[in-house]
Amino acid sequence: MFKQIWKYLGLFVLVSIFVVACGKTEAPAEITYDENAPITVWIDQDRQPYIDAYKAANPDKADLIEEAIVDREQFPSKVLLFNNTNQGWPDVVFGEPRFVGRVADAAHNFPLDLKPWVDADVLNNYDGMAGCTFGDQIFCVRNDLAQYVLYYNKPLMDEFGYAVPTTWEEYQDLSDKVAAEHPGYLLGTFGDGWTFLAYFDPSGCPSHELVDDNTFKVDMSDGRCVRAAKLVDHMIANKTLWNTDYFDATFVQQQNDNKVLMVPMASWAWGVFNGTYYLTAEHQLGVSPPLKWEDQEQAIDVAQGGSGWMVSRHTKNPKLATELIVWLTTNEDLWSTIPNFPAYKPIQSLFQDQVSGNDIFANDPFPAMQEAAGLLGPLDKWPRFDLISPLTEVVKGAYQENATIESVLNMVAEKLTPLAQTEGYEVVNQ
């Protein structure tokens, strides 16, 4: 009886393999474009009103656009599944540039080069395009920016008689003053991958530099990495840096106890100061441009998030798809209602109207934010893999071992190098 089962099972296996192998997918045919073809747009809940606004403004196109609300964390893996079945790709996708990097490789092969479809004058007018640019191709347009600025507690700074620093050197000097005169007060936090980037990228430290789209540079022995490590080690030692990410309950508690003098955070973070995370009194929140190192001509800024739009190379209607993403990122009426910092330069002043009147601020945040937008450096470009988790491992590991950050710098290279190699990058340290 058992033998018979095996016989049938073997037969079943053979037949299945034959059936599946014969259903081999065909090579993709040349796409014929059709200006009346419907398109599917992948967005999150917050972006739905944008699409609805486009439909309202362009009623003749409304029927052609189908919205799908998705979890974009799954988007790169979904693309692979669509590639497997050779169908089902969305036409337009909303997401951070880190997703663009992940779907731009040969296996995903997803985004369309926008250059032939979007006017060069428009394309050249976005800030933060490093993350969208791959060789001479442009795979996305930026929606909004998440450039870092320096948030400070104006009443507290005035009370203590401190001036807002403009360089990282002044920032470190201030930390010594605070440690001596007002122990227990904080100048920021350092506890995960994002906070790591917040201190190391502005120094120009090549911890994740994309020399080109196939070459990944990591050199933690670079002086710019060492000085950033010395800075955070100094401030961890004098207890002016907290040891968690921005949203850990303990750091939130410090904010709410009014113990945080300043913290470098993204431009959207002012939204978390008004009660969603941190309780902030009226006219308390000062905003100042990102700090620079004394030997730098201008500051190098870093971003935490900020989004963009890309179009699928499989779309049948690239004309409508590209028209849509340009409208969504440049339309003045739309951006008069959006609380994010627009990447499209000509409409950035619209953001000023929205934030400047907010009672939370001690000064007009817009000039600092606009300055920061222009300072986003080449490090604001994501590789095909996640940087945050490995960097978090290094930072948290150092705390657990009571080690200094300077002493674990080599771990950053040890973690990122094989990851990058697995993703097909050539890794260099020069």
Partner: protein, 307 residues
Amino acid sequence: MTNQTIKADMRTSRRWRRNLSAYRFVLPYLIFMLAFGLGPGIYAILISFADFEFGVPDYFAAGLQNYVTAFTDYRFGFTMGNIAEFLVVSVPLGIALVVLIALLLHMRHGRLSSTMRTLFFIPGSVTGPALLLLAIFMFSPLMSPFGSLLRALGYDSFDALIAPQRLPVIFTIIGFFSGAGMWIAIHYGALEGISHEVLEAARIDGCNAWQQAMYIKFPLIRPYIIYQFILIFAGNVQLFVEPQLLGTTWIMANVPQQWSPNQLAYSFAFDLGNFGAAAALSLLMLLVGLGAAYLVVRLTGFFDIKA
């Protein structure tokens, strides 16, 4: 056709008819097993030889390359070591504790025993990811009811507690609470099935409660323990949700991105688009589970028909 073959045919058809209702009962299970168990397994074998360089499977183009890629990956040894350590801690400890609790509960019938069984069962009714969130609260000294215990052990914060070297124990604790209730119920059921005469005879012979548990009850529920071993081993080899969720951007504990082999397989498939290497690694893990089950069945004579 000779007489003999006709007779043989009649015999088979008679047997077939006799077994028909049994086959009907098995059929729904068989369909699901083929569709969701064997089918994907066969597909995994197939794509483990397929090349995915350009996203679309090119069948039989990769040869053994996917196996080489998976087994020589720089994380392969690391993840295998982790899962081995986890199995060594979680399987014996899980089984021993569950059997002990079941035996203890069975010593004293009554309201306390049934209340405790229900209590043990509750965490098992919560699904994996939700249970993990619960565990995060339990492991956060600021919020946990065990906070003072954690602080006494020197762990002031969640981050101080969740370190790579402690993960096997942490996952064992989480796994124990999610699975223990079900297995306690099963073992308790098995203990209930033990004939009263046997226990009474033991008692008359002067057996106390402990001796009854050790020498009478324990040997009689042994087949269930072996069954538990096979399922727990196969389940724990596939560890995925706990390390994956702890490492997400939202929780961001100090957990290496690919800690278990299943996470590595997932990363092959969904970070790198190499479904072939993912399939190769998954098949290896299947073999490990099957191999352990085979060894245990062979060594214990689990399937031997009792006279």
